[in-house]
């Protein structure tokens, strides 16, 4: 029996390989990004319908944060499911599980991949939203706070979302199950994220403290839930 010629694989390299694979596959088909991007555009259209009767005096900035996060939540659910359907398709997940890779590494790679795609969609949506709904209004708070809030919120969405999507993709009625599980679990994070984003957009007195307080809450959520997801992933993916 030939002695296997192996250098041994470090977790980091495996992580990078899975991430790279997912990104290459996405770049090749653009499946996720186009569907997510299109979905966000459609959401913006619906917003326009919802706001159509509000009159020109209505300050959209008051609900801008909520509208933005709403769009991101629904778009992310779409993306999360798709990212895992790939693996199930040809039984690739089994091949992955057969290889000597630690399950948490798979979790991190998938979660980071989902985060990257979500951030890309957010980066495109933000300016679009501002142009469509907030033209001519001034930004009350500091603009740099907004990307920061998006990042912290998106980390939570991607992390917990990856765990929940791994569960939901194995059920009947995938997308539906994901929404049923995802939204209540995301609720506290979204509250905090909307709070922070809103503080940044409105810039009311005391907004800096409010922003950082909400960011701390969102960060706390991320830390706790990501730890839990990381620990639970092994069980869920092996089921």
């Amino acid at each position: 029996m030939a002695a296997p010629a192996r250098t041994g694989s470090s977790s980091w390299r495996q992580f990078a390989a899975i991430l790279r694979k997912d990104i290459i596959m996405e770049l090749r088909t653009f499946e996720m990004l186009t569907s997510m991007g299109l979905y966000t555009m459609l959401t913006l259209v619906i917003y326009q319908i919802a706001l159509s009767q509000s009159g020109s005096g209505f300050d959209v900035r008051l609900i801008a944060a909520g509208l933005l996060w709403l769009a991101f939540v629904f778009t992310s659910m779409l993306g999360l499911n798709r990212s895992l359907v790939h693996e199930k398709d040809q039984g690739c997940l089994e091949a992955l599980l057969l290889s000597p890779v630690d399950r948490p590494v798979i979790f991190l790679a998938k979660a980071v991949g989902n985060l990257v795609f979500l951030l890309i969609v957010e980066t495109i949506t933000m300016p679009l939203f501002f142009v469509m709904f907030l033209s001519g209004r001034t930004l009350g708070g500091a603009w740099w706070m907004i990307p920061l809030a998006l990042l912290v919120g998106s980390i939570g969405i991607a992390g917990v979302g990856t765990l929940l999507a791994t569960i939901s993709v194995n059920t009947r009625g995938r997308d539906f199950i994901l929404s049923v599980l995802f939204i209540p679990v995301m609720y506290p994070l979204l509250l905090a994220a909307v709070g922070a984003t809103s503080a940044a957009i409105l810039g009311n007195p005391g907004f800096v403290e409010e922003f950082w307080r909400d960011m701390a809450l969102a960060g706390g959520y991320d830390a706790i839930m990501l730890l839990a997801a990381y620990g639970l992933y092994e069980f869920v993916i092996g089921a």
Binding site: L62, V160, L163, L164, I167, N170, T171, R172, G173, I177, V180, L181, I183, P184, V185, Y187, P188, L191, A192, G195, S198, N204, E210, R213, D214, L217, G220, Y221, I224, M225, A228, A229, L232, F235, V236, A239
Partner: protein, 247 residues
């Protein structure tokens, strides 16, 4: 003492406790101080709202609402606890325990919502308000319903148990986070957070009623859990026998 006897004893205790709590709440406990009011236009609280309720009748619901809420959260802990045990041992009985605990949680959460709703209706004239505790329990209700929806959508038994355990743990972690965050994030300038709380502490008589009620509710929770669990275990044993006969 065997489990069955214990259950019946606890049931008796629970009935006594809740009855005593009920009586204390209505006849002995001092009427509550004015709670913090809404500062929107619905400030008629001070006026006609309270005039028609000379004792703050609505406040008495507090003696049921909060105990039931606390009981539901206590039982929810067991959903997560047994979930963890299941993942560690893969023993089906822990999955059953976790599921039953979640069922009981659902009952209590719904009771929390109903009593909370009655309270807001009696005290503030509105059927619903997005105040921290009600909101959190609404989310908890959605989480628990989600747990059952998830279970129903997985065919393979073992997979179902693993997923349910994982989600149960996540859901249980989410509940206190919800509570904390809904309290701290102010709801902006338009919507008014209504704090259903008790300013200051509880007086002696109120405290007694409250604690006894709470104890009674938790005891009830335990009883319902035990009865349901025994029912389920009997079913399971039947299944095993049936399967053995088939061979």
């Amino acid at each position: 003492m065997d489990r069955k006897k214990l259950t019946y004893i606890v049931l008796a205790v629970a009935c006594v406790a809740t009855t005593v709590g009920f009586l204390l709440a209505f006849f002995v406990a001092a009427p509550a101080q004015m709670l913090r009011t809404l500062d929107s236009g619905k400030g008629a609280i001070m006026g006609s709202g309270f005039v028609s309720h000379p004792i703050d009748f609505g406040q008495k619901i507090f003696y049921f609402h909060v105990p039931v809420a606390i009981a539901s959260f206590t039982i929810f802990f067991f959903t997560a606890f047994y979930g963890v045990r299941f993942l560690m041992t893969r023993d089906r009985k822990y999955d059953t325990k976790s599921r039953i605990a979640t069922e009981v949680t659902l009952i209590f959460v719904v009771l929390t919502m109903i009593t909370g709703d009655l309270w807001t209706r009696w005290s503030w004239g509105v059927w619903w308000t997005w105040e921290p505790r009600l909101t959190t329990y609404f989310i908890m209700m959605l989480l628990v319903i989600g747990y059952f929806v998830l279970r129903a959508s997985v065919e393979d038994e073992e997979k179902r148990a693993v997923y349910a355990a994982a989600f149960g743990i996540i859901a249980f972690l989410d509940a206190p986070l919800s509570f904390a965050i809904t309290r701290i994030v102010p709801a902006g300038s338009e919507v008014h957070p209504v704090v259903i709380g008790v300013p200051g502490g509880l007086e002696g008589s109120q405290l007694a009623a409250f604690l006894i009620s709470m104890f009674g509710m938790i005891a009830f929770g335990y009883v319902i859990y035990q009865l349901r669990y025994r029912e389920e275990r009997a079913k399971e044993r039947l299944e095993v026998l049936k399967a053995a006969l088939e061979d």
